[in-house]
Subunit: 413 residues, 2 copies
Amino acid sequence: MNFAEQAHLAKDASRTLATLSRAAKDAALAAMADALVAATDTVLTANAADVAAARQAGTGDALVDRLTLTPARIVGMADGLRALADLPDPVGEVIRGWNNPNGVRVRQVRVPLGVIGIIYEARPNVTADAAGICLKAGNAALLRGSSSAMHSNLAVTAALQAGLAAAGLPREAVQLVAGGRAVTAEMMAARGLVDVLIPRGGAGLINAVVEGSTVPVIETGTGNCHLYVDAAADIDMALGIMLNAKVQRPSVCNALETMLVHADIAEAFLPKALAALAEAGVTVHGTPAVQSYSDEVVAAGPEEFEAEYLSLDLACDIVPDIDAALAHIRRYTTGHSETVVTDDRRAAEKFVAEVDAAAVLVNASSRFVDGGEFGFGAEIGISTQKLHARGPMGLPEMTSTKYIVDGAGQVRG
Amino acid sequence: MNFAEQAHLAKDASRTLATLSRAAKDAALAAMADALVAATDTVLTANAADVAAARQAGTGDALVDRLTLTPARIVGMADGLRALADLPDPVGEVIRGWNNPNGVRVRQVRVPLGVIGIIYEARPNVTADAAGICLKAGNAALLRGSSSAMHSNLAVTAALQAGLAAAGLPREAVQLVAGGRAVTAEMMAARGLVDVLIPRGGAGLINAVVEGSTVPVIETGTGNCHLYVDAAADIDMALGIMLNAKVQRPSVCNALETMLVHADIAEAFLPKALAALAEAGVTVHGTPAVQSYSDEVVAAGPEEFEAEYLSLDLACDIVPDIDAALAHIRRYTTGHSETVVTDDRRAAEKFVAEVDAAAVLVNASSRFVDGGEFGFGAEIGISTQKLHARGPMGLPEMTSTKYIVDGAGQVRG
């Protein structure tokens, strides 16, 4: 089947999904979870082929780990689907409504987006996650996974489709998009058939989709996250937040990448900070001013301040005042999550008002910027754009709205 | 000044606008209104040059009328700016907020989008409207008007900038983008400098922007609006809604363009409808089934059903049932406003559930789908896309959001 055929089937399926009751969707999610667990052996066999090919291609251990499925990970994927069933249905929510003076009643109601295309990299568990979130919000999913996970993704999708069929829903509600690079281009040009594209992966993938797509895109993920340690920071608090944001899980988009320290607190804070970072195995990339505090600090220029390391590396500079910190952030931010540590009310308010990002944090770790931590129960990614959704995206962000206008024959005068 | 310079100045200005109080913005709107009225003579002189050039180029009367300014129209533009001052400020609104179990407080707050680019056709009053709406929502505006209104737009913009300066705000908050076609291309490629592009005009303009832009776009306007007269329609009500939606103002996007009549009511309804339409000067383009009711009905094929006439023309067909009506609408809809007239509860619910459009109307004229009629107080256009905003766009649709996360040193476990 070619992509256009798949997309038309998805569009047809989306019409069925749009009018399903919550109960029908939740039953389908449970059936998909059951089918996935039932297919454990098939999925593991397929996954083993992907893993063997990756090893043969010399793929690094970290990536192979992300690619590898285990019985426990499959149970985790199934649990994720079941957890979605427990979340409220965003579709049908009346966001606002009013009666016009002439008696015409207007309601703005959440409706599904329609067909959502997801373009993502190595991890096969995204296949089940994304399919489940799209389905719960009443959308058909076209999943364009990485070729390195193709066997795994095919097996997972087959299981999910068996679950859909068992629940009496169209299999085409969840489809894997296979084929070469040309298919990605077709997907990006499928305006009118695909309602939105969500790229999930590295900056290269995201930029390619943003630049090349005529389908509307929701940009996710790149996080060059800053921590500004203000002159009025509580030093212990700043140390705790710095370590947590940098070290607790360095490979994720809300991890800390750059620290800016106010000159007035540098002497009290930096020696402790550099020692703690060294102990945690973090390589600090600093300007000469930072290097003057420790021989272990390696040199940093614009490239280091632009980097989203996603590793135990941290860029660092000393700034003369909050305005310099804000100017630095303005230059290098990817608009994800930016943090200030301060006990100064005015500094906090200035930082919050002037930083232009999806999330601005005061005296808290940027690791909290996450759909799970926000209590959304499910997350398709973290939007770093300003249109439609900004920050962690849960089920409501996977919907659009429709105005329903109800009258008794009124016409406009 | 070239476009890149203008865009950078707009970005700088947008940072000032983002943190203004409502009082400061309202004072600026009043000053802009005063400056515009004070500049009446200059604006009329400039406009006369545009009108003379248009007449010389053989422009039709309707377009010349849209282009023409009068003292009363300038007062109208100024009143529009003053009316914006009376509307609540969308910026700063807390949309939702909660405390996490660990005491971290999260708020989602409305913030300006930043720099909004508007690409629009002939009418110079849009210059003041769009500038005012952008300003009230804290955004800088880059206005790309039609070359045929260039003198008028320059004069209006100069007046608005004088008002901004009088109110102590940066003139660059409102800028007219001049130059040839290449400048439009630059604007569409200015990702990172321009936060959103809103094309306002015909389908050709809108498609060109949608296809060519890497800046996120909000699609507005094209309205191939349908009226489905169900078997259970009240005939007088259907006649009233049909006439109002088609005739009251045929040149606008929420006007009726296609009518579908259930076969069971055709004999009772169509002779009256065709007579009323003929009396109102409407040319009906119908299928042979419709033509059998009147010699005055001209032939209609797929092209007629695709057309957004914006004139006293109406495409018409007879359908065997509601499913055929829904299939027709699915094929031809532009996703603007679709209407059913029926007294049958099930038919109404089916129509509302299955039609995929910004607005779905039951027993009311599609002319109500309008920011003014919805009570928004201001409207930048009617979005026909599903992301970000759908339907009439008021001030809140000209904003994004930001999560503010407040802690006392919390870190993630």
